[in-house]
Symmetry: D2
Subunit: 155 residues, 4 copies
Amino acid sequence: MKTLTPAPPLDVSEWLNSQHGISLASLRGRAVMICAFQLLCPACVELGLPQAKRVRTLFAEQDLVVLGLHTLFEHHGAVTKATLEAFLHENRIRFPVGIDRNDGTSAIPKTMQTYNLQGTPTTLLINKQGLITRQHLGHIPDLQLGAEIMALIAE
Amino acid sequence: MKTLTPAPPLDVSEWLNSQHGISLASLRGRAVMICAFQLLCPACVELGLPQAKRVRTLFAEQDLVVLGLHTLFEHHGAVTKATLEAFLHENRIRFPVGIDRNDGTSAIPKTMQTYNLQGTPTTLLINKQGLITRQHLGHIPDLQLGAEIMALIAE
Amino acid sequence: MKTLTPAPPLDVSEWLNSQHGISLASLRGRAVMICAFQLLCPACVELGLPQAKRVRTLFAEQDLVVLGLHTLFEHHGAVTKATLEAFLHENRIRFPVGIDRNDGTSAIPKTMQTYNLQGTPTTLLINKQGLITRQHLGHIPDLQLGAEIMALIAE
Amino acid sequence: MKTLTPAPPLDVSEWLNSQHGISLASLRGRAVMICAFQLLCPACVELGLPQAKRVRTLFAEQDLVVLGLHTLFEHHGAVTKATLEAFLHENRIRFPVGIDRNDGTSAIPKTMQTYNLQGTPTTLLINKQGLITRQHLGHIPDLQLGAEIMALIAE
């Protein structure tokens, strides 16, 4: 039997689409899905983010929290907070999106390092106890993702 | 709170892709999905049956039973058992498919009458206690269907 | 430079969606597209026939004739003229469809033999002079097919 | 009969994916397709640009010139030349893309004004004589676009 790992804190420099900061610790008792993306990543735009929007629409907020995490690890000079804000507006992404912190010491931002994310899009699922049940680079088919999320909600 | 209805017995004249007859009563303890279809129904071919195949692939047989039900209610002269067998072969449908019984007294076959199915494709979900949790004419998005099935499995 | 082959006559036992028989010879001066299909062929139903319907909608009848050809070479006992009629009705295929003649001497019907068709779906394009410019088993992307048809119309 | 309008010069501040500037006048004798887009426009990313890439792949360069035109008319502060360069790289857009000139007097860049473009994506087709045969806001189905381009090539 696999031992699940606790989800480390998100190290986010700023939250968009949210009035206040968001900590995973404060979300215990609810399932959490995080879509780690970059706005210039084609598979994120085509698959990952539309799926996250569908997930947000289908499940109730009290059952499932959906978060975006902008893990910019390439094209740093090409993308600013203003770019991300405009992107979220144009793509009608209304769930909270954290900007993964970059303190200038590495191309890889902090949360991406902590979670050892291998690229974008990555889908993270965290259960009500705050344990990571899924960390997947690439696409998870809708049927499977719906089932995995419901398994967390039903626990 | 909604009271769930027990799933009536399937009145099937013959089962394809199965060595023996199948009764819902014998499936207690497992979730059941039934895809009611007609082989000349475009939405069944495009949406319903491919989805049922994805469901069969994703979930384990001990958790979920997937059945097809050929509820022929139009074009009776155009479709025979041989047509259905060739159709299942060409579309690589390997799960059991029951031929909804027609005793010649009505265009509507027996199970379709009992369940009051309004057309095809219809998706039926039955929980481990044999109660109908879902009867939907048309398409259920994959994300939602995956979640509904997992809710039944997790019960 | 490739020498084009004259399109042999279609050997059709019956035309559906047409008040009268159709001969290629009578269509000189117009481009012709033929979609050779079987109603139980999944790729025909998913790709070939929907594309033929789009082609029929886009181009004017005086510029382009669109024909279906039901080249039944397998599951003979499973498909009758009534099956085909119901299929055309359900799939809203309104262009003429010929039933490729089978005189009982071979599983392969006559026109399929003459054209040496290798399977279904096959797309045939015939120019205004009655020469075959294209015979393709499988799918031709819409962009390319639109261009090829217009090349014939513009000649 | 409709009188066609000559395509005005493109007023571009810089060309990407090209060693040198490009003038429509220099392209006489070849058909030209221009995809006017913004990199934060979802329909451009989902439909317009992938189609332009398919067009570039299908037709020969000597028959058809494919150009992108980045007509930034909103989110000016969010998108720089570096953003566009990274976007083209990530989306593997290899055909020349002009940055529609903005001299700071209007949100609407110069070529967009001259052509009276109403938004993005807009597809422009220009024939061998330099006349505009098509200016369409939104999506043109592949079948139709393939036919329209071939009509220009065949002239």
